[in-house]
């Protein structure tokens, strides 16, 4: 019995010591919108072949992403690397390593800085909102649509696409996620920003804002936009892929997603406007975290990834808009679609770009505007809803 006990003790110690001796694996946190995770995995494989350094790609659903990252940092187990949005960079900036002198920042746009004015991210891609249309469905029902050289107003667009209502095989003319990120372009297309000067004077109760929200409310009331996403968590992209919708308001991150999933013809066309054209600009970056235990290895990887050969491979293979100056990305079969996204960006006034960027820096703002879209879809007085939104937004900024 004693021998058995001693043997178990020795075995336990061996297991414990071998566990202690294992080298900590370098992790990169990631979420997938389309096929870009596969492209990053190819780059990681290439990096391993060149340097012998193994980086594990940990793919999480976007809805849980920030919570997981927050928990890891709070628990002292920060990942070495993570794909991040501007919101993440803002929320975690004091936990992210400075990338000064790691790569040549002058080659890139869309930087983010910490309190000390040091760059803390390597921009990976730029995103822009846009309008996907189902060409098969529109041609079948004889519906015209805007094109790159022929941008429509919202009135023209609604009049034409409303012909789809009640048509065979059509659930609704369009589909839209009830999110701040989809509603704000409508605000900007009415020629209005959310704040005059950041966080002091709001334009939320202006006639333009009222008109923008009224337009959205009427879309839902008239069945112009599918109400079903309101009954479930957001799934507009999945609904569009059923082929029963004429248009899908989304962004360029859905190009590869739609391409692999649909059996109808589709393309991207310019979003309509009221006063001016406008899209929302965003982007994803790569960040290295402090206290990961592999800080230098993470910085070495970022330096490697910033080189043109690797960076251009990522944006080209994942079909992303590149933030690298002078990069020549061939979008191949999606060249026409990307031409539209680039045109949307070029047509967007800088004040709208800045207004949106300042919003994403406020934790908690996004769910509040999501609520607004849901409240508007339900009905109710638009001005009262906007006044309530203004009160809630000011509340979280205090």
């Amino acid at each position: 019995m004693k021998k058995l006990l001693a043997l178990s003790l020795v075995l336990s110690l061996v297991v414990l010591l071998s566990a202690c001796g294992r080298q900590k694996e370098m992790q990169m946190l990631w979420w997938d919108d389309g096929t870009e995770g596969q492209v990053m995995q190819e780059l990681l494989d290439r990096y391993e072949a060149e340097t012998g350094v193994v980086i594990e790609l940990v793919v999480l659903p976007f809805n849980d992403y920030e919570t997981r990252l927050r928990t890891m940092i709070n628990g002292g187990e920060a990942p070495a690397l993570a794909r991040v949005t501007e919101g993440h960079l803002n929320n975690f900036k004091e936990f992210i390593l400075s990338l000064e002198d790691v790569y040549d920042q002058s080659n890139f746009t869309n930087h983010f800085y910490n309190e000390a004015g040091e760059s803390i991210s390597l921009p990976l891609d730029i995103t822009a909102n846009g309008l996907f249309i189902n060409l098969t469905l529109l041609n079948e029902h004889g519906i015209n649509y805007p094109t790159l050289g022929d941008v429509w107003t919202w009135d023209e667009f609604v009049a034409e696409f409303s012909k789809l209502k009640g048509a065979d095989g059509v659930a609704a003319p369009g589909v839209f996620d009830h999110q701040a990120h989809r509603f704000m372009p409508l605000m900007y297309q009415h020629g209005i920003t959310l704040w005059d000067t950041p966080y002091t004077s709001s334009n939320l109760t202006s006639p333009e804002a009222v008109a923008a929200l009224t337009m959205l409310q009427e879309f839902y009331a008239d069945g112009f936009i599918e109400a079903f996403p309101l009954a479930q968590s957001s799934n507009a992209a999945t609904l569009f892929r059923t082929g029963n919708y004429g248009f899908h308001m989304s962004g360029n991150w859905n190009v590869t997603g739609h391409a692999g999933e649909v059996d109808f013809e589709w393309t991207v066309v310019p979003m309509p406007y009221v006063e001016n054209r406008a899209t929302i600009l965003g982007g994803k970056s790569m960040a290295a975290f402090a206290d990961s235990g592999m800080e230098q290895e993470a910085l070495d990887f970022i330096a490697w990834l910033a080189a043109p050969a690797q960076h251009d491979y990522f944006t080209q293979e994942a079909f992303y808009l590149t933030p690298r100056f002078g990069a020549e990305v061939d979008y191949g079969e999606f060249a026409d679609e990307y031409a539209v996204f680039l045109d949307e960006i070029a047509a967007t006034d800088e004040r709208f770009v800045q207004d949106w960027l300042t919003q994403v820096m406020i934790p908690g703002m996004y769910p509040i505007i999501n609520d607004l879209v849901e409240d508007a879809a339900e009905g109710g007085d638009v001005l009262a809803l906007l006044q309530a939104l203004e009160t809630r937004l000011k509340g979280i900024m205090e």
């Binding site: 920030e66 919570t67 927050r70 928990t71 940092i73 709070n74 929320n91 975690f92 936990f95 659930a171 599918e226 109400a227 079903f228 309101l230 009954a231 479930q232 968590s233 609904l239 059923t242 029963n244 934790p363 908690g364 769910p367 609520d371 849901e374 409240d375 879809a377 339900e378 979280i396």
Partner: protein, 299 residues
């Protein structure tokens, strides 16, 4: 003599300690994973903790905010309404099935397994399954009724339909679990009581009301409290069934707390909500115990 007395008292001490030693492992686990987080949660409710940075003490500020928070009040009220509607339905359904199933039916085992089957399906999957069935655009339910010549229903786009849908699928999913408790209790009622009641000329309904119902009191209390707790904490089934929609019609307290903590990252504020919910559940359970034990005390 003294040695004998000492060894006797040691034996008594050991006899007294042994049960506690057996309880210790569970108590330690319970303390680490339930009691300690609950205490930390109460502490967070007095701070501005965001889940990342060191919390700052804010006193009763979170509770003051709660008082003015319409959305929290709406979620809490919605949850109370759900408890009031669902618990009696689950209670009666499970008791009714149990009463039928203990009778000497052919294939009793098959029926018992069939009613218990939904309990074995994860609540997340139950939500998904019924969401597919009741999907207003592409769901099985609308396919069937339109196939029969009726107009398609707006199903989950209709706030009232979605709310009662939650009641229905919760009952469908959990009645089997409580049925097992009732079956065990019903089978333990002494047969002599029924025989005596029958000799006294009691009808079937009277036998149920004066013999069965009082005899299964412990099971009744247990089912009532467990079902109420479960409905108060309802969340996974909602996430996949309706996501809290349409228009927040099926948004209940736990979802609101979760989103406040992990979408708005106001962990301190969400902790205050949890404390209020804990108080509600405690008061509810206390009232239930008081009402249930009133007869015993009077006796």
């Amino acid at each position: 003599m003294q040695v004998e007395q000492e060894s006797k008292s040691l034996l008594t001490f050991k006899t007294k300690m042994v049960p506690y030693l057996f309880l210790a492992p569970n108590l330690i686990i319970f303390s680490i994973f339930i009691i300690l987080p609950a205490i930390i949660g109460i502490y967070y409710s007095f701070t501005d903790f965001d889940g990342l940075r060191s919390p700052n003490w804010v006193g009763f500020e979170n509770y003051r905010r709660l008082w003015e928070d319409d959305r929290f009040r709406a979620a809490m009220w919605n949850t109370i309404r759900l408890v009031v509607a669902t618990v009696p339905i689950v209670f009666m359904t499970s008791l009714f099935i149990a009463l039928i199933i203990i009778r000497p039916l052919k294939a009793r085992g098959f029926f018992r397994a069939s009613y218990y089957w939904p309990v074995m399906i994860s609540l997340i999957v139950v939500g998904f399954m019924w969401q597919w069935i009741l999907n207003p655009r592409f769901g099985l339910f609308n396919s069937v009724i339109t196939g029969l010549g009726f107009n398609a229903s707006s199903t989950l786009l209709d706030a009232r339909f979605a709310w009662w849908g939650v009641v229905f699928i919760f009952t469908w999913s959990r009645a089997g679990y409580y049925m097992i408790m009732f079956v065990a209790a019903l089978l333990s009622v002494p047969v002599q009581l029924y025989e005596a009641a029958q000799i006294d000329g009691a009808s079937k309904l009277q036998r149920f009301w004066y013999v069965t119902y009082p005899s299964i009191k412990p099971a009744r209390i247990m089912v009532f409290i467990l079902a109420a707790m479960e409905v108060f904490k309802i969340y996974p089934i909602i996430v996949t069934f309706t996501g809290g929609g349409p228009f927040r019609a099926t948004r209940f307290t736990v979802q609101h707390i979760y989103e406040t903590a992990f979408q708005s990252y106001e962990v301190g504020y969400a902790s205050a909500m949890s404390v209020i919910m804990l108080l509600f559940v405690t008061v509810f359970t206390g009232i239930n115990f008081f009402v249930s034990s009133r007869g015993e005390r009077d006796a």
